[in-house]
Homo-oligomer: 403 residues x 2
């Protein structure tokens, strides 16, 4: 079969067409099941049909574009819903790249490729709802009882797409694998002047809520030696943690104290209590476990040394997803050809639909740079040359893997 050659002008034009739905300034306001999201999906279905793909909405609004026949094929795509107020490429890029590759392949008689736009990746009803349901990680019955922040149930939300949907989910049996193209959403490629990221793993995430409790007191009359200052406990905890992690982490490991709540939070009162989150991410579950041990031990030690009490939630977490070796190698080979010296292997610090789809089939991912590392923001953008190059790498990978 001939290799797939994409049409760069059409790729960029379709990206801008999709951008129209929910446009606000430079960004988009296109949350899952909003009118703009449904209109965008109907436009996508029409584009798929024009390309010769069979457009199918499943019961939750995931949209598949299936090539003719029932032969095995690669699946590619991402999501076309946006953050409540988001950028124009987060998700949309991977959907349009998949559409263009599937379309170009049909035109040239190349290896068949299916395209998909998963629903509610951005978590109106919880993380990655559409691919979670499709992959079997979340049952439809459980999903139907979920609510968004306004109290609307998932059952009601998906009913807004009922007229479009077929009754059954699309079988995964037909797909040989899943490749998701996505913007990086971080600064690594851009800051190194690189064009393509070949994802090695989607990092696992652990998150835990801590409380240090001491004694609330008058900030004038309580000598330092008699204080049980909960915020000073956090200072010592965070400082000790940074030092102890140095021996354990890789440059790709991240940890964040993002939420801090001091009580009573008054200038003249020694803090009696502080609640805070620790979130840590890494591509290696064993490392995540070691970090958890260090975090727990440090919290206990600091609490004892500073005469505080410590409470913690059990951490919630999502395991790391390793990319399929054969798919990853195929993408790396294409990147080596198309972006020599301008690509790297790297972890994905953000979650993606591919993590769910890995329950069903081999998965891999392609990153293109985010200018300034900006995402989840109207200012999110990627150079046009990189948008084209990412789709070319996807096309070359699909060709090579089918060969």
């Amino acid at each position: 079969m001939p290799p797939i050659a994409i049409n760069p002008e059409r790729l960029i034009q379709d990206l801008h067409e999709l951008r129209r739905f929910g446009t606000s300034g430079n960004g988009v306001i296109r949350p899952a099941y909003s009118d703009a999201d449904i209109a965008a999906r109907e436009w996508l279905a029409a584009r798929m049909a024009q390309a010769g793909l069979t457009a199918v909405f499943d019961p939750v609004g995931n949209l598949f574009g299936l090539p003719p026949g029932d032969g095995k094929c690669l699946l590619s795509g991402s999501h076309s819903d946006s953050q409540p107020e988001g950028g124009w490429l987060d998700g949309a890029y991977g959907v349009i790249a998949a559409l263009e590759v599937a379309r170009a392949s049909l035109e040239a008689g190349g290896p068949p490729v299916a395209a998909v736009s998963f629903q509610d990746e951005e978590g109106r009803f919880g993380p990655l709802t559409g691919s979670r349901i499709w992959s079997g990680a979340l049952s439809l019955a459980e999903a139907d009882s979920l609510s968004d922040l306004s109290g609307l149930s998932f059952a009601e939300a998906r009913r807004s797409m009922a007229a479009l949907s077929q009754p059954d989910f699309v079988s995964a049996d037909r797909f040989t694998g899943f490749i998701e193209a996505h913007i990086e959403q971080g600064p690594v490629l851009d800051s190194h002047n690189e064009a393509i990221g070949v994802v090695e793993s989607i990092v696992g995430i652990r998150s835990e809520l801590f409380r240090f409790s001491g004694q609330q007191n008058h900030a004038g009359t309580t000598p330092m030696a008699l204080r049980r200052d909960a915020f000073q406990g956090l200072i010592r905890f965070a400082d000790t943690l940074n030092a102890r992690f140095a021996d354990v982490v890789t440059p790709a490991t991240v940890w964040t104290i993002g939420h801090v709540s001091v009580h009573p939070n008054a200038e003249s009162i020694v803090p009696g209590r502080v609640d805070f989150t620790v979130q840590w991410r890494d591509g290696d579950d064993a490392r995540l476990d070691r970090m958890a041990d260090i975090i727990h031990a440090t919290a206990e030690e600091v609490a004892q040394e500073t005469d505080l009490e410590v409470e913690r939630s059990n951490y919630s977490g999502i395991g790391a997803t390793t990319m399929d070796e054969r798919l990853r190698a195929g993408i790396a080979s294409a990147a080596r050809d198309l972006a020599p010296e301008k690509w790297r292997q790297m972890p994905s610090g953000a979650l993606h639909d591919a993590a769910n789809v890995s329950r069903l089939m081999p998965v891999a991912m392609i990153f293109v740079p985010s200018i300034g590392g900006v995402s989840h923001d109207f200012a999110e953008d990627t150079a046009e040359a990189h948008l084209v190059l990412g789709a070319e790498v996807l096309a070359a990978s699909a060709s090579a893997l089918a060969g």
Copy 2:
């Protein structure tokens, strides 16, 4: 003149009488100019009159009990308003101790003593309003434009006492000095099993608001090395400050990071901004200045090292007040006689009316222990024996200083 001998039963009885006004559980709800506060002041005025003192309300509701004649005399007292929800002894103790000493002296023909209850020490309209106005630190015109948290102006509030008040302020010329008895409101005396504190100074307070600004970012996709995490800046700042202060402070110096506001304060977002207060207190203005220099230099250095921007308010402050040497020595001598081995010289970490009165005359203070160091809380309490002993030290000091 014979030395003043107080009546312990009457002291304790009057403390409990005053406690009735605004009683709630074990504490009191008697903020300045509330019905309970005004009723308490009217009761106090009647007690003063019964004792042979001339009760005078000044234009802002400060209540003086003046001995007969116009001879020079010592002034003693504190305040009878409470925190919005406060303990029964904060302020009230010093007022009743002064009343008892003035009354006992009149009965025995001892040295004349005047008693005072300043208005709004607890700051409904700003810190120590009544004594601030009487001492000339705040003009009546300026004060009238102040408002409480509900928007009520000071002019309206003091109008509620207009029917009780004389048109003029009480002249300070007649008073040879001011001694304020007060509960410690801290744990030092109680934790050392001591009965009397002879105050050396009322600490100065400096307070400053800081902001570290970095870059808000995705907590998954932003590598540690590329982060500009404002909260991590605060961690380093606080840790460095603790280390640098070690060479500068005394055991009586305190510093507090009491208010912390992280932005956007979300588990999955690298903090882009943190606002926090640093408050520091010491009895020595020169030390407060050195600490300010260290705080400012540390904030600048940490900001530079961590690629953050730092902004700060100019600090607001109240200078330290050194107690008058003669008055302090007189109190120390009385404490040595009446509480041998059970007293100490100590700074006051809290502000008191004496700091304002020092603008007009020599001042000194006597502390009695706070059980468990608790104050500004319904649980505030002091052993009855210590309440009596504090008044005896006040009486002995007044006798000796007049002699």
